[in-house]
Symmetry: C2
Subunit: 258 residues, 2 copies
Amino acid sequence: MNRVGRAPMYQQIAEALRQQIADGTLAAGAQLPTEAELTDLYEVGRGTVRQGLTLLVNEGLVVPTRPRGYFVRKREPMVFRPQAEFRKRPYSVEMDAFVTEHSADGRSPRQMIEVAIMEPPQDIAKRLQLEDGQLVAVRRRIRWLDGEPFNLNDSYFPLDLVSESEILRPDDISRGANEVLAELGYRQVRALDELYVRMPTPDEARRLELGAGTPVAYHICTGYTENGQPVRVAVTVLPGDRHVITYERKREASEDAQ
Amino acid sequence: MNRVGRAPMYQQIAEALRQQIADGTLAAGAQLPTEAELTDLYEVGRGTVRQGLTLLVNEGLVVPTRPRGYFVRKREPMVFRPQAEFRKRPYSVEMDAFVTEHSADGRSPRQMIEVAIMEPPQDIAKRLQLEDGQLVAVRRRIRWLDGEPFNLNDSYFPLDLVSESEILRPDDISRGANEVLAELGYRQVRALDELYVRMPTPDEARRLELGAGTPVAYHICTGYTENGQPVRVAVTVLPGDRHVITYERKREASEDAQ
DNA sequence: CGCAGGACATTGTCCAGTCAATGCGAGCAA
DNA sequence: TTGCTCGCATTGACTGGACAATGTCCTGCG
């Protein structure tokens, strides 16, 4: 265990384990050597070994499970398809096949809904083009799959538009909140999606039961009516280890020349 | 300073600093107290203070700069718009405004291109529906902005389709590789985008100069011709701290009833 | 047989220290 | 003024220890 090379010892340890994970020596779900074993193997202090393991944990490759040891992480993402709200079925065979392949068949879904009326956070207010003091209704959802939290979804509506509608009731709206909004005269015809990638806040990590090294996608969708009025902002927090986000795109006739 | 509460000391330290960052006491770019100062302030060992700071680093909130200290991270994302390859201009005023607001005006772009012929990695081969042994051409690009690496973009083409075309030359193709492909008779009319969110590999971290706590979006775009043949797979690695990914969606007349 | 309790292996938290690496600025030299 | 060197503050790497927390598993009792 040559330490003169260059890289610090803890990085060498991490790299060796990373290799074994990459080439399959350590398969998904397999247990890594214990800290004690690595300490003996590399003839370093336990702190150094822990530093190396922490690196792998923060890369999302490995999960520490007290007091059983470290294990190689598994990844089996589910499809998240923002376009589905305007288009129930994919319109190309390629997309259809992809969704089918990563489907949630046989898994048991569940969700918790909570409704509140509040002053909007700044970024929401901006996207809804609200004046100071205007309130919003928010429907907060946590979605579960097989007893594990899967994603967070908060939908914001200007309170003016939805007061006294069923959007304010914390029940499942089977035909969708968008449909209710349409019935109220605010049919969305366009949406703007923004996707940010970052580490979760401690609060998000707690609610989604995220281990260290699990980043999230932060999806903000703003829905507009025909005349350009924003009527809904949906914020979804998607753990990176549990999702693939997909879109389908079509070239349009008018855009022919590039 | 109370350690009887519950949370370990290093988490309390992290939480206190996190608070100050959130409420603006520590603004973006500001310096945090040094390890020594925190050691005195909380009356704990240096190791404990470092454990707390490491937490913040891995959350992407803070950047350690040896030997100057720890600083609050800045975030100024640039727009990445996959739809742009089929549609140069956004078609709604909302999207147009958003792109303008986050534009790269005045920044100096640069890119390095490298071309290779290789056996495709498995995930690429699968998306291009290649048989065993079929080769691909790959155009690897690193894009820079203001001297900082911005993203990695590798485009794969079945070698059969592009041999002897200018796609194999490591030059900038001003009209776009897609246009060349179209001239060769493989005009893409549909694309499937997949977005994965994860921590970077050490190699990606090195090439993109990513600090700890910076996740990446892994964008895989598969382009299809009219008859459903996949002719291009583009893999883009986007550092989370430097990008927003946006899409624009339209409800279509035929999808009226949800 | 079933269950309660305890031993054990393993990671989590924390301490007190050493020496290395490095960017910056003060101060000196040309 | 300009340029170079060197000291210094600060983080990085690492040691070797102690005790806590917590699933697992085995033992033994009822």
